[in-house]
Every structure is written in structure tokens, then in C-alpha cells.
């Protein structure tokens, strides 16, 4: 009966079912694929194929300003991720142990503020703040701004796990003689590790892709996004070469992480099943 119904369902939608998802996928990937293919074109045209060459890649690596922008982006993203992950993780542990739930909720709602306001408002706010303290806009202000908008992502990733963690675990560790510090480092953090990692990945990609906030706050310090924006009028095919590299690196990373998460999910499912059998 059940299988029959499922069959019925599938048949009814089959035309859409097999065409719609690939169609939208094509919409997502066609521009990217075209750009990737033509980044290997010798000429500047995006229609006429002249010759296969790595010309634009050579230009890309020769271009000092782009390389500097890439370097800035990576350094800011790494530093901001590291700092916001540490602050966010400890912060999540801290606010989860508050006695007054109201204080926890207050902090969480302040934490959500940058997530719900549009980026441009956050950008304006931070820019005004730095101007108010007459800080010269540049690398430091960019880093501070990135820490400011990355930390909330770590919190929303780590806090729910911390809140749902069994507090007896901590008590048990301390009854067995662990100091508070070793309870944090040997019990809590290992328990939270997956969500800390996913928070860190979120923070890194947010920082890596950020445009508006870096644009308002960075001054003459440019990251990849602001560099592209600054060279608005004269978009060169080197940008396409850069996109190809970023896209391919990303593809490998996302593919690996999907593979890992699928594997760990599968394993936990298996474990659960064998557990049930016992």
C-alpha cells in the first residue's frame, strides 16, 4: 500500500521532478562555468574562443595590488576567525552558566542584533564608531569590525549545544577533582568541538566574503571584494582567473566537508541502530 502510494506520487511529478532541479542548477552554475572556461582564453572576449592559455593567471600572480588584497583578506579572515572563535566559545560557556536566565536572554538578543540588521547599517554604525574615536581606518579597524560581526555567528553555533549539554558532566568532573580550568578544557570544549568548528567555518566564510563592512571601515586597506569594487570601471579577465581559483578551492573544501558530515552521520546512524538492537 505504502510503496504503491509512493510510486503514484513519483509518477505524477516525474516530468518536473527530473527537469526542475537540474534546470535551477544550470541557472546557478552556467555563469560560473562560462567564466571558468573563458578564464583560460587568451583574448579578452567572453564569446569568441581564441586560444587556451594561462595568460590571465600569470597576470593575476604578477598583479601586486590583487595579491596584496588576497593577503589582507586571508590574514583578516584567519585572525578574525581565531579571535572570535575563542571569545565566542568562552562567551557561550559563560552565558550558559548564568544564574539569571534573563541576563542570558538579554545577551543573546544583543548578540542577534548584528544578524538581523542589514549589513549596510552595521557598516555605517561601525564606521561612525571608529570615526568617533578618531581611529584611522585601515587594517586594525577592518579586523575589529570583522571580529564584531563574526563573534555572533560563533555564539549562535556554540550556545545551543552548551545550553543543552548535561551539566552533570561538569559536576562529575569537578567531583573527581578537576579544577574549573581543566573542566573547561578537558570536558566542556571537547564536548562542544563540532559546533565550535562549524561556528569557526561560518565566521571564516563570512569574513572572507565580506564586502560592505570592509568597504565602509577599511579605508585604503583593501580585501578581495573591495578591490574588485574599486576597479569597477576596468574589470579585467584577471578577476575571472581569481574567481576560478577561489571557486575550485571552495569546491574541494565543501566537497570534503559534505563527505565528512555524511560519513559521520552514517556512522552515528549505524551506532544508533546497533545500540537499539542491543
Amino acid at each position: 500500500m505504502k510503496s504503491n502510494r509512493r510510486y503514484h506520487h513519483k509518477r505524477k511529478f516525474s516530468i518536473f521532478y527530473y527537469f526542475y532541479i537540474p534546470l535551477i542548477m544550470l541557472f546557478f552554475y552556467l555563469p560560473i562555468i562560462i567564466i571558468i572556461i573563458f578564464s583560460f582564453n587568451e583574448g579578452t572576449s567572453l564569446v569568441r574562443w581564441t586560444n587556451f592559455s594561462f595568460h590571465w593567471y600569470e597576470e593575476l600572480f604578477k598583479d601586486r595590488i590583487i595579491m596584496e588584497a588576497v593577503q589582507t583578506t586571508v590574514i583578516v579572515a584567519l585572525l578574525a576567525t581565531a579571535i572570535s572563535t575563542v571569545i565566542g566559545t568562552f562567551g557561550a560557556i559563560g552565558i550558559a552558566t548564568y544564574k539569571r536566565k534573563r541576563a542570558t536572554n538579554l545577551i543573546l538578543s544583543i548578540n542577534n542584533l548584528p544578524l538581523i540588521t542589514p549589513d549596510i547599517v552595521t557598516a555605517v554604525a561601525l564606521s561612525v564608531l571608529f570615526a568617533g574615536f578618531s581611529m584611522k581606518s585601515g587594517f586594525q579597524t577592518m579586523l575589529l569590525a570583522h571580529i564584531a560581526f563574526c563573534t555572533p555567528y560563533v555564539i549562535i553555533s556554540v550556545y545551543p549545544k552548551m545550553a543543552s549539554m548535561d551539566k552533570n558532566l561538569i559536576e562529575a568532573a569537578m567531583d573527581l577533582g578537576a579544577t574549573s580550568r581543566s573542566a573547561v578544557f578537558k570536558v566542556i570544549i571537547p564536548e562542544l568541538l563540532p559546533s565550535i568548528l562549524s561556528g569557526a567555518i561560518m565566521a571564516f566564510t563570512m569574513s572572507f566574503d565580506d564586502f560592505i563592512i570592509s568597504y565602509f571601515v577599511g579605508g585604503n586597506t583593501m580585501n578581495i571584494s573591495t578591490y574588485i569594487y574599486a576597479s569597477f570601471k576596468k574589470a579585467k579577465p584577471t578577476v575571472n582567473a581569481l574567481m576560478t581559483i577561489i571557486f575550485l578551492v571552495l569546491m574541494v573544501l565543501v566537497f570534503l566537508s559534505t563527505l565528512l558530515s555524511m560519513k559521520s552521520k552514517g556512522e552515528s546512524m549505524k551506532r544508533r541502530k546497533t545500540h537499539e538492537k542491543k
Binding site: H8, G91, I93, I95, T97, I116, I120, A148, V239
Partner: protein, 317 residues
């Protein structure tokens, strides 16, 4: 005996309390960051929007607001941004719903793979994707050349509604697909089967069970697409090709802030924009409540309304 027990209990409790205050103190850096880099900046724009500087003197004024609120051009820009964002959002809902629906029907393995393929372009730098589209739509790009060959007049598609909306939909579509998809996954199969066992056709089941229960996903997708689309700076800038018809609110803030270096006016626009957004999300949330709780008051616990946390986690799933 009992006495000492109580004492021991008390002392462990005391110790525990002290330890927990150590844990709580771990949040001090976070509070510091939230205070100085989240709350303070918002107070600063509020403050800046009410002041102006002339002859090296700072004075309080509402000029920053009145200058925009009395200017019909400002309403035009604001209205235009909201209008295009709305069109983009509606198109996204129409395109994303069937996609999410079919995606939720796939086997878990296929689902994961499709999910991966959606997040991949989402994680690629926004500017790079928009520049890619610009090249395709501009003179000599593949799409404009193809359309030209088919007899569609213009050589460049930049500066048309088609280009602006197409790229907006391209950028924001994943933000609509993912919340609807997650919401559809949450609907229990039993409900659908019960509906069918009671004699409803597949179509009726969809209309009466699946669709109403998926509305929270649509709503959270709405806010995730509408707000960034209304405040976008990059898309109209690249797609308008200098056509002043497509000046959106984001560009207006930019022009005051960066080009004209008038922080006070820029802050005032940001404050107005924030108010508009608060009102919009309030209305949307009301819509949400009427749709979910009134129709199925008892089912409330099974429906998780898309919150800000969801929004962020979809963004970088």
C-alpha cells in the same frame, strides 16, 4: 550526623557556586565586544544622525532627517528599493518552492548532494559572482550576444529591469530555497498519510496540510531575501550601467558616506532604513503568527518558526 551532612551539602554547593561564577566570568570578553562593537555603534549612529558640524561647532539638529523626509526623491529611492526587493522576493518564492519541495522528496544522499551544490555558489564571493554576470550581460557577453542574434534589439542588457532582477534572483534564491526545504523536512509524514487515508487527493493534501505547514519556512525565507535585497549596494551598482533610474537606498547611503563624506546625513538614512526594516519585519512576523497559530493552535510545538538563528545558520550551512 544529619547536621554534618547538611553542612557538607552546603559546602559543596558553595564550592559549586564559586566554580560556576568562574564559568560565568568567561563571558567577560564577549560582553566587552558586544558593548563596544555592537551597542555603542548603534548609539553612535543615533547620535550622529541628530548632530551636524558647522564652523567647527557641533550642534543638535533634526535637519538630517527633515532634509530627506521632505524630499520626494528620497521616497522615490526608498520606494524603488522596496519595490524591486519585493519583486525579487516573490520570484524567489515561485522558483524556490517547487525546488525545495522536490529536494525534500529526494533520498537523503541526493538531498545532501543538492544541498552542497546550492551552498557552493552561495559561498563564492558576492562581488565575483556579480562581476561574472556583468560580463555576461554586457556588450559582447554571451547572453546579450545570443539575444541580439535572436533579434532582441539592444547590444547590452545592463541598465534594464531584466538584468537587475535576474541577478538579484540569482544571488538570493538559495536563501529562499534552504528555509523552505528545512521546513518541509520538518513536516511529519504521518500527517500527509493521515490526510490521504482520510480520502484526500494528493493535491488536496498539499493544499490543506503540506503548504500551510511550510509557511513558516516561506516567511523566514521572505525576510532573508527581502531585507538584503532592499539594502543591496553591489547589484544595482553593477547592473545599472550608470543609469540613475536604479539608484537604490544602499547607493544613497554610500554616496553620502563615502563620496560626499557627510556622515551625519548618511547616519540619518541608516536610522530611517532601520526603522523601515523593523516595521517590515514586525508586519511579516504578525503574518506568520496568524498563519500558523490560528489555524493549528495545538500543533504549535511541532512547528519551529524560522528565527534569526536559523537565518544565520542557513546563510552558512
Amino acid at each position: 550526623m544529619a547536621f554534618s551532612n547538611v553542612n557538607a551539602y552546603k559546602s559543596t554547593k558553595l564550592r559549586f557556586k564559586m566554580k560556576f561564577s568562574f564559568f560565568s566570568s568567561l563571558s567577560i570578553p564577549l560582553i566587552f565586544i558586544l558593548l563596544f562593537l555592537v551597542i555603542l555603534p548603534f548609539l553612535f549612529i543615533l547620535f550622529y544622525s541628530f548632530i551636524n558640524v558647522r564652523n567647527n561647532k557641533i550642534y543638535l539638529t533634526i535637519e538630517n532627517f527633515s532634509r530627506f523626509l521632505s524630499n520626494p526623491d528620497f521616497y522615490k529611492v526608498l520606494g524603488l528599493s522596496l519595490y524591486y526587493a519585493l519583486i525579487c522576493t516573490i520570484l524567489c518564492i515561485i522558483l524556490a518552492y517547487p525546488f525545495a519541495y522536490f529536494m525534500a522528496k529526494c533520498s537523503p544522499k541526493v538531498r545532501n548532494i543538492v544541498n552542497m551544490f546550492i551552498t557552493l555558489p552561495m559561498w563564492t564571493n558576492l562581488l565575483l559572482r556579480v562581476v561574472a554576470w556583468k560580463q555576461l550581460l554586457d556588450e559582447g557577453g554571451i547572453i546579450s550576444t545570443a539575444l541580439h542574434a535572436l533579434g532582441y534589439g539592444k547590444t547590452t542588457l545592463l541598465g534594464t529591469d531584466l538584468a537587475v532582477i535576474l541577478v538579484m534572483v540569482y544571488i538570493y534564491l538559495p536563501f529562499m530555497i534552504l528555509p523552505i526545504y528545512t521546513q518541509l523536512l520538518k513536516i511529519e509524514n504521518n500527517l500527509k498519510e493521515a490526510s490521504k487515508d482520510l480520502g484526500a487527493s494528493s493535491f488536496k493534501t498539499f493544499c490543506k496540510v503540506t503548504f500551510p505547514l511550510s509557511i513558516p519556512g516561506v516567511i523566514s525565507g521572505f525576510t532573508m531575501v527581502f531585507l538584503p535585497a532592499a539594502t543591496t549596494l553591489v547589484i544595482p551598482k553593477y547592473m545599472s550601467d550608470g543609469n540613475p533610474k536604479y539608484t537604490f537606498i544602499g547607493q544613497m547611503i554610500e554616496s553620502y558616506f563615502i563620496n560626499a563624506d557627510n556622515r551625519y546625513a548618511g547616519s540619518a538614512i541608516a536610522v530611517i532604513l532601520t526603522i523601515v526594516i523593523i516595521v517590515t519585519s514586525f508586519i511579516v512576523n504578525r503574518l506568520d503568527r496568524t498563519n500558523v497559530t490560528d489555524k493549528n493552535p495545538k500543533k504549535k510545538s511541532t512547528i519551529v518558526v524560522g528565527s534569526e538563528e536559523d537565518r544565520a545558520s542557513y546563510e552558512k550551512q
